[in-house]
Each structure stands twice: as structure tokens, then as C-alpha cells.
Amino acid sequence: MRFGTRRGTRRPPASASARVRVPVPLWLPAIVALALVVLPVLGLLTRIDPTRLPTLLTSPEALAALNLSLHTSLISTALSVVLGGPLALVLARSRLPGLRVVRALVLLPLVLPPVVGGLALLYLLGRTGVLGGLLENVFGLTIPYTTSAVVLAQTFVAMPFLVVGLEGSLRTAGARYEQVAATLGAGPWLTFRRVTLPLLLPALGSSLVLTFARALGEFGATITFAGSLRGTTRTLPLAIYTTAQSDVDAAVAMSLLLVVIALVVIVVARPKAVEGRS
């Protein structure tokens, strides 16, 4: 987007009168699509037994899973920012050869089934894996089936959301503000702190929310790489899956927790990417 035409950075006024009519035959599939998204969640709510709900929600099993989920998701979100943020900047601004290949590789976890990602992590960091063997023998560190493994699995799956979001916003904004800062005598580090970062804050907010939500819902990679050990690796999604086999009501109650967290994320944080604006 080019900022403004005549008046600096103002957007052109949105004109309500210029709305385009939606062709009638498209309304039916649109309604079906909406039903497909909303009805299952509503169905879940009807399955709730209000009398047992407080007990189920405060069961040690549910509380442990919620606690673990929130902790690991926050850590993997922080890890995504610390590592993925710089990666986004490199992808958007540097002119290294082969950058297009790197950009495609970053997208890999987005399209790869999480289970495959979990297997890949296991064969890299497992006891017999290339890196895992080294860590075990030299540092005495074991990663699979630990809380660290949960964090790694979540970061693997969720970080690309942050990288893609930030990189897109950096590329749309262009480097023009950074160039102005350079002409004002600001070196690369000062420009990053005083120009790039403040300009990136709005996009960072929405990318963070998406990354956190994705980490919170992670299942496939976690169960493959970290297993489902109560208290250390059994996050909320894993707990729901395990509990559903024996106590459906308890599983539904835990699902309700995730639904509530998701709604909070959408309503309170209101990520722009979710609203269809970038």
C-alpha cells in the first residue's frame, strides 16, 4: 500500500454507498459454510451438564492441563517473537541470495501435518537422533517426553504464523521510513529500535495472538514428540483427547475452556488478521 495520496498518511474515506451486491445463488453455500463452523460449537454447548460443570472444570486433571497449556503456550509465543521476529526482518529486508528458498522453508510447518512435524523433531532430538544423541552424551540433556519438548513442538508449529505475519507487514510498509531515518543520521540499530519496531507494533499484536492461539491448540506434534504424560506434557488438547475415551462430560467441560479462551482471544485482542484486515 502506498501511504496516502494527497494528505500524508490518511486513508481514503470508506464509502458505504459503493457496496457490491452479492449474487443470490452464493447466499446458500455461504449459510452452509457458517453453519458448518458455528453449529458444532453450539452442539458442544448443548452436551454440557450444568450441574456437574463446576466440579469437572476444577478437577485436578483439568486444572493441571490448563496450567501446563497456558505456561507452555506463553513460552513458545515468547520464543517465537525472540527468534521469529529477527527472521521476519531478515526475510523482508536483507538481499541475501536464496532468500526465496528460505521463505518457502519457513512455510513448511504451516502445510505439514503436525504429526509429521512431531516425528521430524523426534528423529532430530530423540536419543538416537543426530542432535539429540549429542545433547544426551555431551550435556546430559534429554528433550523428548519433557515439558521442553512440548514448548519445542508448539514453537515449531506456531512460529511460522508470526514470521509470515510480521514479514508481510514489513514488506507492505516498505523501507521508506527506515531510509528517512538513515538520512537523519540514524544507524541500523537505532533505526530498528526507534523506527522499525514502533511501526511494527500493531502487526506484532495480531501476529502474537494468532501464534498463541495456534500454540494453545497444538496436538499432533506434541503427542508424537512429547507424549501425553500427566502434569508434564499433557496439555489441554491432549487431556481432552485422553479423557474423551472414558468420561465424555469431563472432555466436553475441558473443551469449553478452550472455546472460552478462543472467544477471549477474538473478542478482546481482536487480531486484525482475523478480522480480514492486514
Binding site: 495520496t5 494528505r7 498518511t9 521508506r176 521510513y177 538513515a182 538520512t183 537523519l184 514502533p198 511501526l199
Partner: protein
């Protein structure tokens, strides 16, 4: 403020064209680079500021060698000390106008309070002191551009670059900003390079003009000489408007023994360089001198008649009164009725309301 001379001779290869240009700008001098879109005007500025690297050549400011392709020297943009005012103000949207202007001094290591004091002084200088606390989102285009100029100058650059600084402003804001630039540029000792597609900007602001076309300089010289006696068809085309240079009078420009009166667009000073500008379509052609009307009349000798499309004949004429080539657009019917021919002596008449009076650079 240092006062060093800018010297540049650069070659840049691009897919569409090769840009090859050499020029020097003295301290306190303003060089305007004019030319059509895609001629490489802005690329020259990018090379001067260090945002692109030429393939050959060198750029020096005084004793400082900023770029030398042969010796692999290329000083980073932030160490060159170039101030840039572009078409878009590009004010940092999250900072107040004051903090935008203070950005340069802060980057240069000045303490916060001192930087703000300097920023205040510069906002005052560009007539935007009352905007200090405002965010860029709440400024009009003209206001934002004033703040952007203050920001560029507050960093105390050794070289000032102006890249189409008036092109994005609306017709009300552009004359104000042009007048401000005229005042600021005349009072400084650093060299300035201005890129513009508007000849008026060059007339008002520049001492010398470099005409760039298809990657090369087709003409270079003192503004008034280049525009008054265009040596290439291209320069004549971009000149487009009639331009009579002289000295400032009472709502008029004194040129030779004629006074051309008009609307004073930007304040002029008596006996300082000024220019009268009017469109060829505003000129009426008479065989006899008009009398008893408040109109400007100049006796001229026709040097050319060229049809322009279906319903316009462009007349070119010279006058002995002052040094300028004038143009007039008339209908083919009018040209026939007056039976105009080359070497005819006629009167070019233009209403004062159709003439714009501007201050001019000393060049």
C-alpha cells in the same frame, strides 16, 4: 554548518536505461534536475544519499569521498549527512511533530531537552510552531510537508536533497510551500539538489538547471538561460509556460522597459529577481497595439507557427524588449483571419489576472 562543494559523476545501469550524469553544486547553490518521468531523476538522488550504488564513478562532498566505484568506497547513508525531503512527508506516525523534528538531533547524540529546543526553533522557522504537539495523522498535506522540511534541516545536513517536494500538495498548499523553500534555500550555505517535473519549481528555487532525458543530461546551465532559450526541443516542451524574468516591481515584473503585472503568488521583493509566468493559451494576438485596457502588451516578432492538433496553432515569438521566447496558442481560424506569418510584427496581449508573479532564484 559546513559549506562544501558537491561533485558527482556517476553511471548506473538499469534494465530500462543507463543513467550517466556529471555535475557539481557549489555551497549555497541549488541545482534543479528536471525531466520526464522515468528519466532517472530520483535515481540520481538515491545515489547521492547512498540508497543505491552506482556502477561507475564517484561522489564527493568537499574533502569527503562518499562513493568511489574504482576504490570500492561507499559511505553508508547515515554517515553521509544528507537531508532528504521527498514527495510524501513520511513523518513517523507514532511521534509528535516536535519529536519527528528532534529525531535527527537525537540520532546525532544531542540530549533530549536540547534536541527538543532545536526542534522548536526549526518548527518556528518553517511556520509550524503551533503544530508541535500534533501527531502526523492530524496534519494536512501542507502542514506535514513543512514539518518534514524542519525535520530534514534540524539534522543539519551537509547536502540537502529535495525529491519532488511539492508534487503531492494540492494547489492551495503548493505556493506556500514553494515560498517557504525559496526563503529557506536562499538563506543557507549548503549545496542543494532539487528534482522536479514542474518548471515553476526550478524557476523559483534553482540557480542552475540540469535537464535529464533518457538517462543523460541534455542541457545544463543557469536556470533562466536554459528555460528562456531552450536549445533542445525537449527543454522547450517541458518549459511549456511563458516565463519572463526580471526584477520585482509593484505587483509586477520589470523586464527591459516593460512591466508585466499579474497576481503575486508568493511574496516578491522590490529589485530582487522575480518571474512572470503565464500559459500560451492566455495570450491574445493583435495586429494593432491595444489601448485603454489594464492588460499587458508586448511587441514581438513571430519566429514560428506550428499546428498542434485540430484546433490550436502554437505561435512562437521573440522580442527585443527582453530576453525570452514567448508562445501563444490561437485557433486556426484566428491565425487565418490575422493572416499570420513568420517574421510578422504583432502584439501579444495577456490579462493581468492570467499572469502569476513569483520570486525567482538569483540564477
Amino acid at each position: 554548518m559546513s559549506a562544501a562543494r558537491l561533485r558527482a559523476g556517476i553511471t548506473l545501469r538499469r534494465a530500462a536505461f543507463t543513467l550517466e550524469v556529471a555535475f557539481a553544486v557549489e555551497p549555497g547553490e541549488v541545482l534543479a534536475i528536471v525531466g520526464p518521468n522515468g528519466a532517472g531523476k530520483s535515481t540520481v538522488l538515491s545515489a547521492l544519499s547512498g540508497l543505491v550504488e552506482p556502477d561507475h564513478g564517484s561522489i564527493e562532498l568537499g574533502d569527503h569521498r562518499w562513493f568511489d566505484a574504482e576504490r570500492a568506497v561507499s559511505v553508508a547513508t547515515h554517515r553521509r549527512g544528507v537531508g532528504l525531503l521527498a514527495q510524501q512527508p513520511l513523518l513517523f506516525p507514532y511521534l509528535s511533530a516536535l519529536d519527528n523534528v528532534a529525531f535527527g538531533p537525537r540520532a546525532g547524540g544531542v540530549r533530549k531537552a536540547a534536541a527538543r529546543a532545536r526542534a522548536h526553533a526549526w518548527l518556528e522557522e518553517v511556520g509550524a510552531a503551533e503544530l508541535a504537539a500534533r501527531r502526523p495523522g492530524g496534519l494536512s498535506g501542507g502542514q506535514a510537508q513543512r514539518v518534514a522540511l524542519a525535520r530534514a534541516l534540524a539534522a543539519d545536513p551537509d547536502l540537502l536533497l529535495l525529491d519532488e517536494p511539492l508534487a503531492a500538495l494540492d494547489v492551495d498548499a503548493a505556493p506556500d510551500m514553494r515560498g517557504l523553500l525559496h526563503r529557506v534555500l536562499r538563506g543557507q550555505r549548503r549545496p542543494t539538489v532539487l528534482v522536479t517535473h514542474d518548471v515553476l519549481d526550478a524557476v523559483v528555487l534553482a540557480d542552475r538547471v540540469l535537464v535529464l532525458s533518457e538517462g543523460g543530461a541534455v542541457e545544463q546551465g543557469v536556470t533562466r538561460e536554459v528555460l528562456a532559450r531552450p536549445r533542445t526541443a525537449f527543454t522547450a516542451r517541458i518549459a511549456g509556460l511563458n516565463l519572463v524574468g526580471g526584477t520585482g516591481g509593484d505587483s509586477a515584473v520589470l523586464a527591459g522597459d516593460v512591466a508585466i503585472s499579474g497576481r503575486v503568488v508568493e511574496p516578491i521583493e522590490r529589485d530582487r529577481p522575480a518571474a512572470a509566468v503565464f500559459a500560451p493559451s492566455a495570450v491574445a494576438v493583435h495586429r494593432q497595439p491595444p489601448h485603454g485596457s489594464p492588460r499587458n502588451a508586448v511587441r514581438v516578432r513571430l519566429t514560428g507557427l506550428e499546428p498542434r492538433g485540430e484546433d490550436v496553432v502554437r505561435l512562437r515569438a521573440a522580442t527585443r524588449t527582453f530576453e525570452a521566447v514567448l508562445a501563444a496558442d490561437v485557433t486556426p481560424a484566428a491565425a487565418a483571419e490575422l493572416s499570420l506569418a513568420v517574421d510578422d510584427e504583432v502584439w501579444f496581449v495577456v490579462k493581468a489576472t492570467e499572469v502569476a508573479i513569483h520570486p525567482a532564484s538569483d540564477g
